[in-house]
């Protein structure tokens, strides 16, 4: 039998399986560097999908900054500060003018001497008048 004939014949299945078995046992293993690169790619992919969890946005936010932000930012905070200052000024520096504005409702004994409580509330008289009108 010539060499060419033997090539045409080839190995039988049992012999070929011996090569496959050897091939299975000789599998190329990934090095530690490759494993690290693959894992780094995975983490980079997570980071790319979660921009809020990275960089500047991860900076700690102070308490006052958080409260200010929750209330609507610095314009709202400025308005609230102005109103608070006006309240202090009204209470401490100009009680007479305040009394005029409120018609004497605020200001201690003057209130009780000028108005009775039933004058400030919708009394039974009003209710009786309404009922009478309905009849």
């Amino acid at each position: 039998m010539s060499k060419t004939d033997k090539h045409e014949t080839g190995l039988n299945d049992i012999e070929l399986e011996q090569f496959f078995a050897a091939g299975r046992s000789e599998m190329a293993e990934p090095g530690a560097a490759l494993m690290a690169r693959v894992l780094a790619d995975a983490n980079a992919e997570i980071d790319a999908r979660e921009p809020r969890a990275t960089g500047r946005s991860r900076r700690r936010i102070g308490f006052f900054a958080a409260v200010g932000s929750a209330l609507g930012g610095w314009p709202v905070m400025a308005s609230m500060a102005t109103a608070a200052a006006a309240g202090v000024w009204i209470g401490a520096a100009a009680p007479d003018q305040v009394s005029n504005v409120t018609g004497g409702l605020i200001g201690g004994t003057a209130v009780s001497s000028q108005y009775e409580l039933d004058e400030l509330l919708p009394g039974y008289g009003l209710m009786a008048a309404i009922e009478e009108a309905n009849q």
Partner: protein
């Protein structure tokens, strides 16, 4: 996710967890899948380790990127990886075809006692060299079936062909391998008279 329960979790479930930002799932998938992709790529590329590592990293990167869109039950992760890895290897083989076909290391021919038969490492090297001679599709089918242990339906899905076509590719690939290895065995003097 507890590490002691990791072996019971499927690749698909881990990939969905990774898609939701689970870094522990990333570690488990890296440890579980990278060796398989590397082994497959090395066989497809005729044992070129550096190129196989590049392909492995690229295939795994594509897996990470597709994770958020992965739907459990549609496909097996390993089947998807085989397909991506095969395509990457085929691209590289096309680029280098005709340039370095002889780059695969030859089995040693001066080892004492060789007449009694090839030792396993020599057989593996001879197989690697013979696989490099097969047409790409035959090599892919034979490697997946006989070295990776994939089933014919899995190979069919990875190669996007019918099961019958897989059987045909595998049969033709094995016939050619048998001839190539028989010739190599004789040339190396491993045949006993």
């Amino acid at each position: 996710m507890a590490l002691d329960a990791s072996s019971e979790v499927s690749d698909e479930a881990l990939l969905v967890a990774f898609g939701n930002g689970d870094r522990e799932a990333a570690m488990l998938l890296t440890a579980r899948l990278t060796p398989r992709v590397m082994g497959f790529a090395a066989r497809m590329l005729g044992g070129d380790r550096a190129e196989a590592e590049d392909v492995t990293q690229e295939a795994m990167l594509r897996l990470w990127k597709i994770a958020p869109d992965w739907r459990q039950g549609e496909a097996k992760v390993t089947t998807w990886l085989y397909r991506v890895t095969s395509n990457l290897c085929t691209d590289r083989l096309r680029k280098r075809r005709g340039v370095d076909l002889d780059a695969v290391p030859e089995p040693e021919d001066d080892r004492p006692g060789a007449v009694a038969g090839m030792i396993e490492a020599d057989r593996a090297r001879a197989l690697e060299a013979a696989l490099a001679e097969l047409p790409d599709r035959q090599r892919q089918a034979v490697v997946m079936r006989h070295l990776e242990g994939a089933t014919n339906p899995e190979i069919a899905e990875a190669m996007e062909i019918s099961v019958e076509a897989v059987e045909s590719l595998t049969a033709r690939g094995k016939r050619l391998l048998a001839k190539l290895l028989a010739g190599q065995r004789e040339e190396l003097g491993y045949v006993e008279d």
